[in-house]
Symmetry: C2
Subunit: 309 residues, 2 copies
Amino acid sequence: MNEIIIVGSMALDSVKTPFGEVDRVVGGAATYAAVAASLLAPPQVVGVVGNDFPPETLEMLQERGADTSGVEIVADGKSFFWQGVYDYALSERDTLVTELNVFGDFNPTLPESYVGSRYCFLANIQPQVQLAVLDQLNNTCFTMCDTMNYWIENERAALEEVLSRVDLALLNDAETRQLAGMTNLARAAAYVLDMGPDFVVIKKGEYGATLVSDAEYFSIPSYPLPDVVDPTGAGDSFAGGMIGLLAHQDECSTRQLRRAMAFGTVIASAAIEDFSLAGLERLDTSELRRRYDALREIVRFDAMEWEQI
Amino acid sequence: MNEIIIVGSMALDSVKTPFGEVDRVVGGAATYAAVAASLLAPPQVVGVVGNDFPPETLEMLQERGADTSGVEIVADGKSFFWQGVYDYALSERDTLVTELNVFGDFNPTLPESYVGSRYCFLANIQPQVQLAVLDQLNNTCFTMCDTMNYWIENERAALEEVLSRVDLALLNDAETRQLAGMTNLARAAAYVLDMGPDFVVIKKGEYGATLVSDAEYFSIPSYPLPDVVDPTGAGDSFAGGMIGLLAHQDECSTRQLRRAMAFGTVIASAAIEDFSLAGLERLDTSELRRRYDALREIVRFDAMEWEQI
């Protein structure tokens, strides 16, 4: 099993959905991705938290095999805080509060033990920070980055530099269209590929995700759930599951990328069944296997004997 | 090959999309579905048109093996007319004009040669008309119905009667949620199944479609296209392709239903590459086969050797 470096926010979230409400629970892209990845391979986590971040969360990560020596704890600071509310269908959310706090000065120096990591997920952070992390890594074989509309609008040049250096860009459908400046998703994905990455993964929320490269096109639906409680962290859990499977297999073929997306899908399905990290923490290997196999059955349809038609 | 009865609108459409504009071209749910189905099995078409409907379209249908003796031509009337405009992303449309014309009094008496049809697609029409057609059929083995928000709101009792009598309900995601009065799609589908049909197919536009029964769950993405010109008729082409494949195979197993959804997906992809029926008419057997096989590759991901994880 190969090591993974995961860089991004570690946060406290207050979230309201039609199914409940939680106050200052643990969240953050790197946190979700690290818990997700740890099901498959040990992540090295890079982030910054304040004195209000529960030490139990770092202990839980360590118990799952994660290295948290790259998580800076600022004793006189507060953690990144996000407050949001979801609509009735859980398909849209409004941000009510964003307090960057210690995350506003995030510019990590990697521990020496991290710089040789082979697999890397750069969660949604300022592209300049993503570049600074890439500059410190000396042995990567596969790098993925996420981003958001704010960086597409305000830090385009730095984001383009990131995209020219990563192997895979992870975007939602709106970000893909915005980045490419075109509405047709197949064309927009081709435009993003021209910016540098070998692969684009387009996240479509409840509608699943699509992998595109010059030679590949793969679509996977979401895992059906009767009870979705809180979609927060779904995309980061998906990404963590992807990079976890690639590191576990230590292979970045399209065969493994397709499997990685299925693992990401299954792990994200567990994440959204509860608030904060509770759903992810409950997911065990037997349920992971069961949902993976179920997902294969969900997409299966048989070949035709073409002489008939 | 078994015969199919297709009942629904035959219309003239004026459509504007970001990629062009057409005036009073042939449209209508039954027309799209019949052309689609005719790639696989001969449809018997039931509809009503006015003196402005091009006779060439009926001739084209006959050349493709369709029986149009159930299409009433009202010499002193005008055809159903619809005018609509699509947004920049082709995901929403506004109806500008709807003139029912001869379709307003549509209450067909089936030709004697139709009543023994084994496969039936009741396109989106008043549920009372769908019921009147079902009353006339005496040998069906598989019936599908479509509907729309207007009937869900205004003719709920009749629609419930239809749903209690068909084998498969074809709905888009918004209709499924509206009919069930709940937002979670997995739960909403289960609610619709309780109303009677053995299967629900939820159409999700560019995101594909999902088949649900008590024992089955199958999801298929849309076929990726770099050039979508006009989405009008996509759902009806999908339905026509589905019922066509079932009739061709003369079997309504879930194995064939999954294949039917793949055929529907491929045929719908051809329909939206051009205005009116042009894309469907261009689709030949070799392209149909090529896209079906490509779609299997698009959804493929390999099993895991679980002892590893």
